[in-house]
Each structure stands twice: as structure tokens, then as C-alpha cells.
């Protein structure tokens, strides 16, 4: 097992390398220049001279050939130096330390909501197949898969403010210092973010459970005289959850991406918002650093899930 984990960690290196390369090149391909954006100012009509622009480009290092820029960035990262923000001209690392936990909390909360609601929903749907309970659950699932998360987010904001005249406390409260306020601020964005995944997981749980229901071993369990509750919880559920664990790896990545939209709708000062702002600022170093952080978190989570999968499914033995 240790050998397997070590091997997987080694495989992180080429994956990361590829991710950095794509992020780096993609930013250079899109039109725009960080020096230009900065000099043009917030409103984009400030005046500056050609010499000023050149000086700033030299200062930011964007005048060098691409391979030099890439090499410099990678060399810095090897020393755990993510570099300076090209827009704010401050170390990128500080921003990441501030913003990443916010986005992580949002993502984890969304994932929890998705799973905790989805698995029972899917189970009920399968057990009570073709009854009103199943129809309701399927309706929720279809709605969730069909509605884009920004639309769900806007609806939530709209209904909360308009019908309940309720606004979450403004600003940002730290989870550990003020959990009550923090949860009030995060629960609805997490709901909007996780709704799609919830619906998706519920559908997967339902179909997987229906399949397990038809398996011979479920019949064997019934044939032993076990109560239906034991048949479901002991024999069926563990098998039915295997595909759910598999998909939650992808979900995490999708949720992280979803935070870009949701954090903007709900004005949460997390990494997703920072990413969007940085793209507008053409803040190359910041965007690159965020991509690296996201890539690493997805890789680590997938490794954790693989280990969990191996625990759930004894037929898988990593070596």
C-alpha cells in the first residue's frame, strides 16, 4: 500500500508539469499584456508612454522569451516561491494562503451537502422504485442536472432577499472564529454549488442500487432470512456506493471550477473570485499559481479516494 501511494505521488510530477505548461501557454495565447492592463488603470483610459510600458515589461519579466519565463517560474516553484503578483506586485503566496481555505470550505461543504442528501435520495428512489417517492426524487435529480449552478445561485439570492427579506451577514467570517456567521454565509452558496452534483450523485446511487438489487448475492442475502434493512445496509449499500466514490473524484474538480461562478454571485472573497479577477488583470503569476493549487488538490483528493475505494472494494489491491 505504501509503495502504491509513493508511486502515485511520483506520478504527480508529470501531471503537474503538464498542468503548468498548459496554464502558462494558455495565458500567453490570449490577447492582452499585464503591463498594459496595469498602466491603463482601473478605468482603462489612463495615459502612459511607450518607455513606461517597456520599463514595466522588463520589471515583470514579460519581455523575455517564453522558455526563459517558464523556466524562471518553475525554478522559483521548486524553491516554493510562487513569485510576485504582476498586478499587485506582492507575493502571490500570501493571497493563496488567505483565499484557498475559503474556497476549500465552500467546496467541501458543497460536496458534503451533495453526498449527504444525494445518497439517501438515491437509495429511497431505488428501494421505492416507481412510487411517488421515486418520482419526486427523480424530479429533483433531473432538475438539478438540468439547471446550471449560476442560475440556481441567482434564484437562491433572489428568493432569499425578495421573499424572506433575508441577507446573509456581509463580509467574511472565519469558520473557526465565528462558525455561526460563517455557516450563514456559506450554506446557500454551497447549496447552489452542490445542487448539480447532488442530483448527479442521486441518479448514480439510484441506478447503481437498482443494479445491485438484481445481483445474485442480494438474493442470497434474502435467502438467508435477513431483514430487508440488513440486506440493504450490509449487503447492497457497500456495493452500490462503489461508483459513487469513483465519480466524487471528478466532482471535486468540477466543484472547484464552479466556485469561480458561485463566489462571484455570492460575493465570497475566495480563490475562485481571485482567479477571475486575475484573468481580467492578466496577472499571469497569480493565475498560474492558482492553477497549480487546484491541480494539486484534485490530485491529492483522487489519491485519497483511491485508497478509500480499495478499502470499500477488496477485489482492488494496489501494487
Amino acid at each position: 500500500m505504501q509503495a502504491y501511494i509513493a508511486k502515485r505521488c511520483l506520478l504527480f510530477i508529470p501531471t503537474l508539469l503538464l498542468a503548468t505548461l498548459i496554464a502558462f501557454l494558455l495565458l500567453r495565447v490570449i490577447p492582452g499584456d499585464p503591463a498594459l492592463v496595469k498602466l491603463a488603470g482601473e478605468t482603462g483610459d489612463a495615459s502612459f508612454t511607450q518607455a513606461e510600458l517597456h520599463d514595466l515589461q522588463v520589471k515583470l519579466g514579460t519581455d523575455k522569451p517564453l522558455y526563459v519565463q517558464y523556466g524562471k517560474w518553475m525554478w522559483g516553484m521548486l524553491q516554493l516561491d510562487f513569485g510576485q503578483s504582476m498586478y499587485f506586485e506582492e507575493p502571490v503566496a500570501q493571497d493563496l494562503i488567505d483565499k484557498f481555505p475559503i474556497t476549500l470550505e465552500l467546496t467541501v461543504l458543497a460536496m458534503l451537502i451533495a453526498t449527504i442528501i444525494a445518497v439517501p435520495l438515491g437509495l429511497v428512489s431505488a428501494i421505492k422504485q416507481d412510487t411517488p417517492a421515486d418520482y419526486i426524487s427523480r424530479f429533483i435529480s433531473i432538475a438539478g442536472v438540468a439547471l446550471p449552478n449560476f442560475w440556481v445561485g441567482i434564484l437562491i439570492v433572489y428568493f432569499l432577499v425578495l421573499f424572506f427579506a433575508w441577507m446573509p451577514p456581509l463580509g467574511y467570517a472565519n469558520l473557526w472564529e465565528d462558525p455561526a456567521t460563517n455557516l450563514q454565509q456559506f450554506i446557500f452558496p454551497a447549496l447552489a454549488l452542490g445542487f448539480f452534483e447532488m442530483a448527479f450523485t442521486a441518479r448514480v446511487t439510484r441506478s447503481s442500487m437498482l443494479e445491485v438489487y438484481r445481483e445474485d448475492y442480494t438474493r442470497t442475502a434474502r435467502g438467508k432470512g435477513l431483514a430487508e434493512r440488513v440486506v440493504i445496509l450490509r449487503h447492497a449499500l457497500k456495493n452500490a456506493l462503489l461508483p459513487v466514490v469513483t465519480i466524487s473524484g471528478f466532482q471535486f474538480g468540477r466543484l472547484l471550477a464552479g466556485t469561480v461562478v458561485i463566489e462571484n454571485i455570492f460575493m465570497i472573497p475566495g480563490m475562485g473570485r481571485l482567479l477571475l479577477d486575475s484573468v481580467f488583470h492578466r496577472d499571469y503569476t497569480m493565475v498560474q499559481a492558482i492553477v497549480v493549487v487546484i491541480t494539486v488538490s484534485v490530485l491529492v483528493l483522487n489519491l485519497v479516494l483511491d485508497v478509500l475505494y480499495g478499502w470499500l472494494n477488496p477485489r482492488i489491491r494496489y501494487s
Binding site: 442475502a221 435477513l226 477485489r315
Partner: protein
């Protein structure tokens, strides 16, 4: 010998979108205490469904037992409430299934799958159940049972898994074990081992055995009495000897002729039954075997031949049974 289980006019139908499939349509048979009864027929003749109906394990929907009685221990299993039938399953009647590879839960240890019925039906503690599980595994000939208990099904061969299934079936000392094609999925070399094991253990504990198979050889060797099924009905019944020596239904005769025999010259050609089994959704009027039968007479198209005695303890559902019987006796002589 007392009758242990009596199936009376059992009808289990499947209600599908295309129509009603009469998988089991008026089947009756009885199993005596300590007896081994064979239930023989082609795939799709309803033999497995009739066995699953006893345990009430036919998936519903689409399957439903629409008629008949299954008398076990003085009560009709079909009328028992769910909580009562659960006390019969695994405790009084246990099953050994066709596919040991898929009939055991892949994510649970052998120990868990063995001990759960012990804990449930015999109210054993975890340690007691564990000890009993080891004993049962030893009994079915699994070496190193202590270590094997901790393992998962995928770490066993098919034959070993079927031994585990037998251990599970025997674990609560049932009165009847239903073995549904217990060796079909296994290697030929393992088949005899498994059947011998089941036969010996059932004899040792006085358990009745219902063996469902399409293999006449299995029945000849292990069953006391045999029921031959065709298209959801029993069409011939008798002792294994009766069926072999004096088959008195054309279908049984056809089955016997389509099996290679060591006692005939190798140049002898096999004589398979022509045609296909009937569509259980659109059964023809009269005898279901008529279209494939070389002895059919006009009457066969109009009436369904009833199962009736042709000699003591030997029944056949054929209008020309007597002719066949005397022919078979002549042949034997």
C-alpha cells in the same frame, strides 16, 4: 416416511410488458423427509422458478405466485407474513445457487457471510458464531479455515466457493436444502466432488435435498425420485430407476437419447430433440410438447394430457404413455 414439503398446483407467472409468461403453471410435487428429489428440465422450463417460489424469492415485480399452495411443516408458505417466511429462509429451508462466484457478496468476508445466519437464526454470539463457522468450513473440506474466514470471495476458486455456499446452507441445520443447478457453473472434475459432499452431508444430518438440474447423469446418481418438467409443468415422475429404465413420456425419452452413453457403441449417433422449447407466453392448445413429439396423436392437439399413474409410483402426462412403457420394457428385456 413423512412428507416434508408439498407443492400443490403451484403457478408462478411473470407479468411483462409483452404479456404473461407462465413460467410455472400448475406444478405439484412432494419431498419426503431425508429424500433427495431431482427436478429436471431444459433451460427455461420453470424448474428454478418453482424452487425460488418455495422460498418466495422470485423478484416481484415482474414475478408473482398466482396460485397453489406450498405446505411445509403444516403451514402454507405462500400465506405466511414476511416476518415469518424470513424465519423459514436459511433456518428451515436453505438454498445453494447456480453461480457461486456471483452468489456471494464480493465486498464482505467469508466470515461475515457465514456468521450472519448463525447470529440471526441461532442467536449465537460473535465468538460462538466464529467457532461454528470454522467447524462448518472444515466439514465441507476447506483447508485452513481460520485463515480462509478472513478472505473475500474473489480469493476462492469456484468449487471452493460452492463449498462455502454449502457450509452456509447447512449452518443452521435446515430440514431442506434446495440446490439450484449447483454444479452447472463448475469444472466437470469438481462437479462430482460437490455433489458427493452435498449427498453425504444431507444423509448424515437427515436433510432433504431438492436438486434442480438439466443433467440427467446427476439425477441418476444422486436422486431417489425424479420429476421431469417441461414448459412449466411436471410431465413425468418416478424413481430414478423408473425414469431411466422405462421412460414413459416422449420428452424424457428424447432427453435420454440426447445424452452420450458409455454403454453403447461409439458409432451410435446422438439423437437430439428437434425444434425449440415453446414460447411460454403463447403456449399452444393441448400438449406443449406436441410439436416436437414423434408419437403425437390427434387428441394431443385438443386436450392437455393430465399427469396420471402408469405403474406404482410412476406417473406420466402423455396419452400414449402405456405404449412407450411397454416398448421400453421390451427393449430392456
Amino acid at each position: 416416511m413423512a412428507t416434508l414439503l408439498e407443492v400443490k398446483d403451484l403457478r408462478t407467472h411473470f407479468f411483462t410488458r409483452e404479456g404473461v409468461v407462465k413460467a410455472v403453471d400448475g406444478v405439484s410435487y412432494a419431498i419426503e423427509e431425508g429424500e433427495t428429489l431431482g427436478l429436471v428440465g431444459e433451460s427455461g422450463c420453470g424448474k428454478s422458478v418453482s424452487a425460488l417460489s418455495i422460498m418466495r424469492l422470485v423478484p416481484d415485480p415482474p414475478g408473482k405466485t398466482v396460485g397453489g399452495e406450498i405446505i411445509f411443516d403444516g403451514q402454507d408458505l405462500l400465506k405466511l407474513p414476511d416476518s415469518e417466511i424470513r424465519r423459514v429462509r436459511g433456518k428451515q429451508i436453505a438454498m445453494v445457487y447456480q453461480e457461486p462466484m456471483t452468489s456471494l457478496n464480493p465486498v464482505l468476508t467469508i466470515e461475515r457471510q457465514l456468521t450472519e445466519s448463525l447470529e440471526l437464526h441461532l442467536a449465537m454470539s460473535k465468538t460462538e458464531a466464529r467457532r461454528e463457522a470454522v467447524r462448518r468450513l472444515e466439514q465441507v473440506g476447506i483447508p485452513d479455515p481460520e485463515r480462509r474466514l478472513k478472505q473475500y470471495p474473489h480469493q476462492f476458486s469456484g468449487g471452493m466457493l460452492q463449498r462455502v455456499m454449502i457450509a452456509i446452507a447447512l449452518s443452521c441445520n435446515p430440514k431442506l436444502i434446495i440446490a439450484d443447478e449447483p454444479t452447472t457453473a463448475l469444472d466437470v472434475t469438481i462437479q462430482a466432488q460437490i455433489l458427493d459432499l452435498m449427498k453425504n452431508l444431507s444423509r448424515e444430518y437427515g436433510v432433504s435435498l431438492l436438486i434442480i438440474t438439466h443433467n440427467l447423469g446427476v439425477v441418476a446418481r444422486y436422486a431417489d425420485r425424479v420429476n421431469i418438467m417441461y414448459a412449466g409443468k411436471v410431465i413425468e415422475r418416478g424413481t430414478a430407476r423408473d425414469i431411466y429404465r422405462h421412460p414413459s413420456h416422449p420428452y424424457t425419452l428424447g432427453l435420454l437419447n440426447s445424452v452420450p452413453r458409455l454403454d453403447l457403441p461409439r458409432t451410435e449417433k446422438l439423437d437430439p430433440i428437434e425444434g425449440q422449447p415453446p414460447d411460454l407466453m403463447h403456449l399452444p392448445a393441448g400438449c406443449a410438447f406436441r410439436e416436437r413429439c414423434r408419437f403425437a396423436i390427434a387428441r394431443c392437439a385438443q386436450e392437455i394430457p393430465p399427469l396420471r399413474p402408469v405403474s406404482a409410483g410412476h406417473l406420466s402426462a402423455c396419452f400414449v404413455a402405456e405404449t412407450l412403457l411397454s416398448r421400453a420394457k421390451e427393449h430392456a428385456a
